[in-house]
Symmetry: C2
Subunit: 403 residues, 2 copies
């Protein structure tokens, strides 16, 4: 309960792109025991591998204790960098250990890339909608946003091309989440990937690929990363241990194959926090070195999340009024629903929170905050009954506000 | 061995204020097994409480496992914030848990304060010399430096007052390390502390106190912090678990009693990395909650470091040529020595590293790099024989280069 409450709070306070009243309502509502939250982006804690973390910690301390508790290099410990490279190579990417930098969660990767690439007023190209944490990281460096349309197959290549042709000053990079995007849950279609890479190559636009959910594919086929494409394009990639092991370890990785870029990011990391926690790196590396454990563990996450996705889907079909549309995600942690344009989901949020259910109003995910009829629903962090009851409450609230 | 090599490397690569040739020599020299290093700033790994960390981890995972591995709030977990507040109150400061923010090592505190306070070209007031990691954090925000003289009693209040009177644009804050400063080892005299706070109050200059070594007092009297002074001055304070438990956990704390400042720092922390590792926070909080363990552990660190300080002092007195002067620190981890002004310690470094001993040349600690006859010697990370042999080698190198 502490963890859940805490994280709702972290989520709420960090989303200063949400209305202050929405944040206050969210904080107040999470204090009520009967409230069901689809607002967070939390993994299912019942799957955290507690015994395995305990055993891995003991092995690390007995074998490498002095090193695991000492200062370490800014790039990350070699064992973990090698594991990341091998795992990405298994997905078809061409990555070596030297390309991998270990960071303190994906949010730090977003911050470091922004710190190195952006001066105030510089433009970042993003999907519309895009990940809220990315907007917040880029906002801190006073970024401007060039938004590109997305549909059920992901970023629309023609829209990207037209947007870049119309832009007089070259943007600094394209940020995108090809696999089970947050907030939309969409998987970028295979046939669009090569087009997007080719367009970016033509415009000499670096790509920053964020891939927290790629491994959470419900079809048991892990989609590739853009790193698999042969290209002269500068490709940065971010992956994380938060969704396949646990967020509390704060272990993520930023892959930078371009040495000139890496030589800027490493000193930025050093000036920011010297290095990611040595202890957490050792424990994480020890855990994932057991491939049999990791494969089985990820399979159990996929299975549970796929089930919860189904439960939510069935409940939505049973209860949602006409005029509500939504995707059915094939991986990740989120549904993205749309209500009629006459409904502002921030208004809906107030009604829903009174009815005992929370979600994230969609406006915050649009850099220009110019659309207000979307909502993000997390399905990884609630049990079956909570999902069913929560969707019933949400459907009622939508009817109340005239959806 | 991995830990030591790793950290030397981390140290060397982060000090881009050192000459590239010095960094290359340091990296090459650390590969040689016979080289003795006084260059790092590493705690003695033989004192790391491995068994206690293992036991604390088990207790945490069995009692609070799901919370310890989940996302958590940006401010830090309540138990740890409360412990920090209580520990500072026991040193005479007036601090409550809400004032305390848990950060990923002191370096992150430096980065966050700089991020919130500094625009390019803004001035920071610093001791001369000052901590290299602080210069690097502030450099990232394009700070200018107003340097203030220090002597054997620490920052000179008259020098601070004159410097501030001469400055037309008000600096953003004073950064200082009153207790066993890095690099000089100096303890700021009690009678100067009130003067410095009063001067800063008069000039409405916030103070940012960095206190990594306060608990490492060899006199068994822990010096107070500036937070103990009643003042309208904005006082920020940074402490760390790196020197009293272990650096690899990356747990430090930033105390911000001024709510308006805190309301800027918390979102900056959120945008940077969401929160400090939950797992490391839980393990650290569990460890330090055992006051009997912590007191005995810190006593053993003090005792070992005081002994090594004595060994280095005796060796210096026996071997150093005339013209070499140095402090004898009463706490912390460093000697600061001066050679005749005709000797540049970067030249000395090249000779000493050939002779098999490393130190940090002093120029990097001066923001304007305008003094070159100082050198920093770490005594916490080498055994007695290594200290004696290393000082003999260093004395020989000083004679070689004409000290």
């Amino acid at each position: 309960m502490v963890g859940t409450l805490g994280s709702e709070h972290a989520f709420a306070t960090r989303t200063n792109r949400l209305r202050a009243s929405t944040i206050r309502e969210m904080l107040t509502a999470t204090q009520r025991p009967d409230v069901i939250s689809f607002a967070g982006g939390l993994p299912a804690p019942e799957l955290f591998p507690l015994a395995e973390v305990e055993a891995a910690t003991s092995r690390v301390l007995r074998r490498d204790g002095a090193a695991a508790l000492q200062y370490s290099v800014s790039e990350g410990i070699p064992a973990l960098r090698e594991w990341v490279a091998a795992r990405l190579c298994a997905r078809g990417a061409s990555v070596c250990a030297e390309d991998v930098l270990i960071v303190g969660g994906s949010q730090q990767a977003l911050d470091l890339v922004a710190k190195v690439f952006l001066d105030p007023g510089d433009t970042v190209v993003v999907e519309n909608p895009t990940y809220l944490g990315a907007i917040q990281a880029f906002d801190a460096y006073e970024a401007r946003y060039l938004t590109v349309e997305t549909d059920a197959l992901g970023l629309v290549p023609d829209s990207l091309e037209h947007a870049l042709e119309a832009e007089r000053i070259r943007p600094k990079f394209l940020y995108l989440t090809p696999n089970f995007q947050n907030p939309t849950g969409v998987l970028l279609a295979a046939e669009r990937r090569a087009s997007i890479v080719a367009i970016c190559e033509r415009f000499r636009l670096p790509i920053f690929e964020d891939d927290p959910y790629g491994e959470l594919s419900f079809d048991d086929v892990v989609p590739p990363t853009l790193l698999s494409h042969e290209s002269d394009c500068t490709l940065l990639y971010c992956g994380t241990g938060s969704k396949i092991v646990a967020p509390g370890l704060r272990i993520a990785w930023l892959v930078v194959r371009d040495e000139a870029v890496r030589e800027k990011i490493v000193p930025a990391k050093q000036a920011t926090d010297l290095h990611t926690g040595t202890f957490a790196q050792y424990v994480f590396a020890e855990l994932v070195a057991d491939a049999r454990f990791l494969d089985a563990h990820i399979a159990s996450i996929r299975s549970l999340y796929a089930h919860r996705r189904d439960v939510m889907d069935v409940a939505m079909r049973a209860h949602m009024p006409a005029g509500v549309t939504y995707n059915v995600p094939t991986g990740g942690m989120f549904f993205w629903a749309s209500v009629p344009e006459s409904v502002d989901t921030e208004t809906l949020f107030a009604a829903a929170s009174r009815d005992g259910v929370l979600f994230v109003p969609g406006r915050a995910f649009y850099p220009h905050r110019d659309r207000s009829n979307g909502l993000r629903l997390n399905f990884s962090n609630a049990g079956d009954d909570a999902i069913r009851t929560g969707i019933e409450r949400l459907a009622r609230a939508i009817r109340e506000v005239g959806g």
